[in-house]
């Protein structure tokens, strides 16, 4: 700690020595992190949407004997792992629903002498357990047929997976890019200060003493980029959130404050960690460049 002032001054000197390049590094890192923030924001919103769609995932089970008491069957289904809600839909409700769907064309149902619909169970399930749930329900005594909407459900699962993979890919790409930029800047700094580093080594200075100012530089540049990205993303979300909600009201937006807090925390902590890591990678070259 006794050398903190010295380390900060050295870091300042290293940054000033190559100021134009370092300003571009800060801006570039800021923009990359801003893109990361955007992707994470979209990921957050789509995760909420997918989560909502997943909760809406439902299958229908029809009875062997529609007139029998369904309560035992409902109780059995509710005990199945992966089922979170079971609702009995009577024949009359099924007809009313169809009338609502058909709208002006609903008169067609009047052509039937008797209600053509049967009662059934509307079962909401967790998407990731669809196979086991379907198999268990199909084997329950009293269930004749299960309509599973598998295609739709599989598509929802596919979208979820694709978004997750995309998110991870973007995070990996941003992390690698930031690490490469920062470690390159640190290598440049080491090269420019090679004479000073050599002198310090000849005086017996340990590598951690020589390297710490460079770690600070990496941290300051990347954290500065993180701050810039946080400011940009805050401005964007504050301005655009209301407009997005108005234009696309069917998209369930998470709370703005919660989203902003999460994003700012991610950008600041992520940039700090990436800055330190990038510097450490860059510093590994100190041993090759300045042995002696």
């Amino acid at each position: 700690m006794k050398n903190l002032g010295y380390f900060l001054r050295e870091a300042g000197k290293i940054i000033r020595y190559n100021s134009v390049s370092n300003i571009f590094t800060l801006l570039g890192t800021g923009l990359i992190l801003f893109l990361l923030g955007l992707v994470v924001a979209v990921w957050g919103v789509s995760s909420q949407l997918v989560g909502m769609l997943q909760q809406e995932a439902e299958i229908s089970a029809y009875f062997d004997n529609p007139l029998a008491d369904p309560q035992d069957i409902i109780n059995n289904i509710q005990l199945i792992d992966g089922v979170w809600n079971v609702r009995y839909v009577g024949a009359e409700e099924a007809r009313t629903r169809m009338e609502n769907i058909l709208g002006d064309e609903s008169y067609i149902l009047d052509l039937f002498e008797k209600n053509p619909f049967e009662p059934y169970l509307e079962i909401r399930i967790h998407l990731d357990q669809i196979d086991s749930v379907l198999q268990t329900i199909a084997n329950i005594k009293g269930i004749d047929y299960v309509r599973d909407n598998r295609e739709v459900l599989e598509q929802i699962k596919g979208i979820t997976r694709a978004l997750e993979i995309l998110g991870y890919l973007v995070i990996a790409a941003v992390s690698i890019t930031t690490l490469v930029i920062i470690s390159h800047m640190i290598r440049q700094g080491i090269y420019q200060n090679r004479d000073q580093i050599k002198t310090l080594r000849l005086l017996g200075a340990p590598d951690r003493f020589i390297g710490f100012p460079f770690v600070l530089v990496g941290f300051l540049l990347t954290f500065g980029g993180g701050l810039l990205a946080a400011v940009l993303i805050t401005l964007l979300i504050n301005r655009g959130y209301g407009q997005l909600g108005g234009t696309l009201p069917f998209i369930p937006l998470p709370s703005r404050d919660r989203l902003l807090f999460g994003l700012v925390t991610l950008l600041l902590s992520g940039s700090a960690a990436l800055g330190i890591l990038g510097s450490v990678f860059g510093l590994s070259s100190i041993n090759k460049e300045n042995q002696g």
């Binding site: 006794k2 050398n3 010295y6 000197k13 004479d195 000073q196 050599k198 002198t199 310090l200 080594r201 000849l202 005086l203 017996g204 200075a205 340990p206 003493f209 002696g292």
Partner: protein, 225 residues
């Protein structure tokens, strides 16, 4: 202090810089390593600083074997050495006192003690009035005195000065030699390399290590040892 047995130094390009060197230098005292340019004086200093390693033989400095695989220990050993270089190796853009303190920052010394030692060292070399002057603005003679202050501020057991007067005029060179000689005592060994033997003729209290074509001979008080 320094023990060398059949030490040879061969550079990567195959140049034999030193061959079959045998030395036994004890604590305290003043040693001049003299010889013409290219004779191997700087190569000997590089071996003592751990900047190069013996191709054959055995070299020990203050109990530390100078071997390539012991670089971490050699780095620690350097904290007990005060090096002075021909080209000063001061850090530009810093003041004289900042340069002197820099050699103390990574030692186990509180910062206020380090500042005190740096000021005392600058007083000793007669540059206290230039303590807060940027080293870029000092003359060659002053810059070398700052380098000496940096070397002695840490109270080293061994001062290694490699051609410390190489860039200086006659008067400044004599002053630097006298200054370096003044640091010799029972706890501090001073080794100075130079080819300017005409400047040190009066220094009879020193031991002279003659280096010629990579081989050495030792002379003390006018007698060959």
């Amino acid at each position: 202090m320094i023990k060398a047995r059949n030490v040879s130094l061969v550079y990567r390009d195959g140049t034999v810089a030193l061959q079959n060197i045998n030395l036994d230098l004890h604590h305290g005292g003043l040693f001049y390593v003299i010889g013409p340019s290219g004779s191997g004086k700087t190569s000997l200093m590089k071996l003592l600083m751990g900047m190069e390693f013996p191709a054959t033989g055995f070299l020990e400095v203050m109990g530390q074997p100078m071997k390539k695989r012991e670089t971490a220990k050699i780095r620690k050993l350097r904290r007990d050495i005060g090096p002075v270089f021909q080209e000063f190796k001061l850090i530009p853009g810093r003041t004289a006192i900042e340069n002197v303190i820099l050699g103390l920052r990574f030692l186990d010394i509180p910062l206020n003690k380090a500042k005190e030692s740096a000021i005392n060292a600058l007083v000793r070399v007669g540059l206290e009035h230039k303590a807060f002057t940027l080293v870029d603005k000092l003359s060659y003679g002053e810059a070398q005195r700052v380098a000496i202050a940096r070397a002695v501020a840490r109270k080293p057991a061994l001062i290694l000065a490699d051609e410390p007067t190489g860039n200086l005029d006659h008067d400044n060179a004599v002053k630097i030699f006298k200054l370096l000689e003044s640091f010799k005592d029972k706890n501090t060994t001073v080794i100075i390399t130079t080819h300017a033997t005409h400047l040190i003729d009066e220094c009879r209290a020193a031991t002279f290590i003659h280096v010629r074509k990579g081989e050495i001979s030792i002379e003390r008080g006018g007698e060959q040892i």
